[in-house]
Each structure stands twice: as structure tokens, then as C-alpha cells.
């Protein structure tokens, strides 16, 4: 947890009109605070946690370690939850985490068609598109069309594996390590791992295009 003082702009001084929903959310908070059941700072703390500490930077650390350390990668693929816990990540929506590996012929994509299941400890809260009806409806039924919307065109012979997180298992994609990064340190590799590459709607790419042979 960082200890800087973020704005407590959530209950006071509204420069713009509040929507009914925003007002309802504030009313619920006021009610729970008034009853002495929930404290303002506990809400602030959870907000802060997901804004600062729990996010795709954690997953990127896991992926970079797997790229840099073959023994770690082996442990990660054998028992995702335990290997992820080695780096200090775990908790809500990460009770059982399974890591699926992209290889030259196989590309994995994660979805939750029923709601929005997502491995919070390593990816944080899901982006709006992940929770949207179009993604939930379409990625199981036309994955290539959906990936094309993200600018990802896979070779026709690549096997696409779409993981629908229907139970309590949470999935994380281990993207392929970009070519030309053999000399990169683990810390440098972290910067190549985007959130979307760990969901499977992108691949990890090195900033410099690799020269065409």
C-alpha cells in the first residue's frame, strides 16, 4: 500500500450534477457508514489497493520470470497458484489460477461468457471490453474476427484455444517471448508484457521490429 494522500473527492463538492446511479452509490455508502458497518478509509483502502498494487504489472512480473527462468516456468505451468504465490501474488479471484502457454502453433484466449471471471491478483480488474456483451458473446463463436478487431491476425494453421472461465478456476495466458530479446533482463522483459497479451487478445512484442531475414 502506498501512503500518499489521494483525493477524498468521493462524497463532497460536486462540480457537476451526479447521475442517479452515482447518487445511489453515494447513498449506500453514506448508509453503511452511518450504521457504523463500513468505514470510509476501508473503502479508500480497497480502491487504493486495486489502483496501485493489484494490476497487470503483477502478471507481467510472473510472465517475465517465466521467460527468464525455465525452472520457474515449469513450476508455473504445473501449478499456477503456487508459482504465482512465490512472487507474492494471490487472494480474491485467484484461489486457483491456471497458466496456459502460447507456443508457435497454439494461441490461448480467456473469456467468461457467464459474467466477468478474471484473475484479479495478476491482472487487476478487467477492462470494460472483457465484461461487455460483445466480447462474451462473440469470442467463443468467432475468435478470429474478435482478435482481428484487436489488430491480431493469426496464421490460419494456428490452433486457437478459447478458455471460458465457467467455474472458480482463473486463467492467465503466458504469451510467447518476443524474438530478439535473448539478452534482455527480467526487469526489461516486464515492459513487453501487456495486459491484453495475458488475456490473449494481443501478443507480446518487442519495441524494435525484428529485421526481416
Amino acid at each position: 500500500m502506498s501512503d500518499h494522500h489521494h483525493d477524498h473527492d468521493d462524497g463532497h463538492h460536486h462540480p457537476r450534477p451526479r447521475s442517479e446511479l452515482e447518487l445511489r452509490a453515494e447513498a449506500l455508502e453514506a448508509l453503511l457508514v452511518e450504521k457504523g458497518l463500513v468505514s470510509t478509509d476501508a473503502i479508500d483502502a480497497v480502491v487504493e489497493l486495486y489502483e496501485s498494487d493489484i494490476g497487470p504489472q503483477n502478471g507481467a512480473r510472473v510472465v517475465a520470470r517465466a521467460w527468464a527462468d525455465p525452472a520457474y516456468k515449469e513450476r508455473l505451468l504445473a501449478n499456477g497458484t503456487a508459482a504465482i504465490a512465490e512472487l507474492g501474488y494471490g487472494g480474491d479471484q485467484g484461489e486457483t489460477m491456471v497458466v496456459v502457454e502460447n507456443t508457435p502453433g497454439v494461441h490461448n484466449v480467456i473469456v467468461c461468457t457467464l459474467c466477468s471471471c478474471y484473475p484479479w491478483p495478476v491482472l487487476g480488474l478487467p477492462p470494460t471490453w472483457y465484461k461487455s456483451a460483445p466480447y462474451r458473446a462473440r469470442v467463443v463463436a468467432e475468435p478470429r474476427a474478435v482478435l482481428r478487431e484487436f489488430g491480431l491476425e493469426l496464421a490460419p494453421e494456428t490452433e486457437i484455444r478459447v478458455w471460458d472461465s465457467t467455474a472458480e478456476v482463473r486463467y492467465l495466458v503466458l504469451p510467447e517471448r518476443p524474438p530478439g530479446t535473448d539478452e534482455w533482463s527480467e526487469d526489461e522483459l516486464v515492459s513487453l508484457v501487456s495486459r491484453d497479451s495475458m488475456i490473449g487478445t494481443a501478443i507480446a512484442v518487442a519495441p524494435e521490429p525484428t529485421p526481416v531475414a
Partner: protein
């Protein structure tokens, strides 16, 4: 909603963000605290599905969370009907919402969010083994289920025995523990032939959903 048509593009402006307004994150935080502090009753996920379908589709993501959080609190008797509306009226008339500081609750909740829970226990007496062909039962459950419609009646192969978990359809999430399987389906068996080739869809399915082929 897996497989449905008509929802339009996935990638739209703003879709990269996890939330768009501060109140959404505070609703998320309240829901988290309500869960860990046992202030509510029932599963948020299952309650969100009780929204009338046309309302569910129209509602924004955190609107659904606000809806379910309120209902969990009402069901437990933590709040009474009308209390949120009463606070909305007070806020509308420019009353300042109360603030309360409780560092113990903050510490407790942050600890609970980041504390790894035990992963799924190994499956006891699984009826199926890796490699078995299984067909998903035809059914029409009235309440919460983790068996999407698009997979019912389809035949696939058991890829992995994930472990033991509470059957989600009863309770919900109060059913007896039973084996959970990762089952792989060829896209043709779910959606018929596609101009975009073939792919694999994998779901985590409870033993009660499955029949031997």
C-alpha cells in the same frame, strides 16, 4: 450469452478502462467489504442474474454490482427497504455524507483481499478421466448455473480433472462438492462449420452437467 448475435463490435472507445467513474470503483470496494465482513447474504454473481434480462443487458457493469450489493444487504437484514432512497433524498438536499475512520477494518479487509485461499482440493472419486468423451446434459435450470447454454448437448473430451468444488447451481454455491473437469469442444460441435476455420473452446464443467458418451 456465449454465441449470441447482434451485440456489435468489441473494441469501442473507452473499452480499455476498467471503470469510467470513481463511484464505480467505490461500489466495487463496498461489495468487497460486504463480502469479507459478512454483511450480506447470497452470492453477488447469482443475484446479478436475477435482474430481469432486458434490464441486465441495459445496465452498466457496476450498476449491476450496486444492484446486487444492495440486495445482499437487504437479504441479510443489514439494511431495510427504503433506507438507500432516504439517503438519496438527503444527499439531494445537499446534506454532507458522514465519514468514519476505522483502521482495524481497513487492515482486516486489505488482509482478506490479498490472502490466498486454499486452491481446489483434489477430485475425490471422479467419474471421468482425462481422455473420456462426455456430453453436456440438456437442461434448463431456473436459477444460477455455471453451464452456459451454448455448450448444452455438445460432446467434448476431458482434458484435465481440476479438483473438487461446491456445486454452484444449488444454493447457489452451497451444493455438495463434486469433481470439476476442464472439457474441450471442437468449434464445429458447438457452432457448426465456420468460414473462419476451426478452434477449440474449453470450459470448466461440474460432473453433474456431464454424461458419459
Amino acid at each position: 450469452m456465449g454465441g449470441m448475435h447482434g451485440f456489435g463490435p468489441v473494441v469501442v472507445p473507452g473499452c480499455e478502462l476498467a471503470y469510467h467513474e470513481r463511484w464505480e470503483l467505490r461500489v466495487f470496494a463496498m461489495s468487497t467489504i460486504v463480502g469479507h465482513e459478512r454483511l450480506g447474504s447470497g452470492s453477488g454473481r447469482a443475484i446479478r442474474e436475477e435482474m430481469p434480462p432486458e434490464e441486465y443487458l441495459r445496465a452498466s457493469y457496476y450498476e449491476r454490482w450496486l444492484w446486487s450489493t444492495e440486495r445482499r444487504l437487504l437479504r441479510k437484514g443489514t439494511i431495510a427497504p427504503g433506507e438507500v432512497d432516504a439517503w438519496m433524498a438527503r444527499l439531494r438536499s445537499a446534506e454532507d455524507p458522514p465519514r468514519r475512520i476505522d483502521p482495524d477494518q481497513s487492515r482486516r479487509v486489505v488482509g482478506a483481499v490479498t490472502r490466498p485461499d486454499p486452491p481446489l482440493a483434489p477430485a475425490a472419486d471422479p467419474r471421468f478421466v482425462v481422455g473420456d468423451r462426455v456430453t453436456v446434459r440438456r437442461m434448463r435450470p431456473a436459477g444460477h448455473t455455471r453451464c452456459p447454454r451454448y455448450v448444452r448437448g455438445a460432446t467434448g473430451g476431458v482434458e484435465h480433472v481440476q479438483g473438487m468444488d461446491a456445486f454452484p447451481d444449488i444454493g447457489p454455491y452451497q451444493g455438495p462438492a463434486e469433481p470439476l473437469y476442464s472439457v474441450a469442444f471442437a468449434s464445429e460441435h458447438l457452432f457448426g462449420p465456420s468460414e473462419d476455420g476451426s478452434w477449440t473452446v474449453l470450459l470448466d464443467l461440474f460432473e453433474s452437467y456431464l454424461e458419459a458418451v
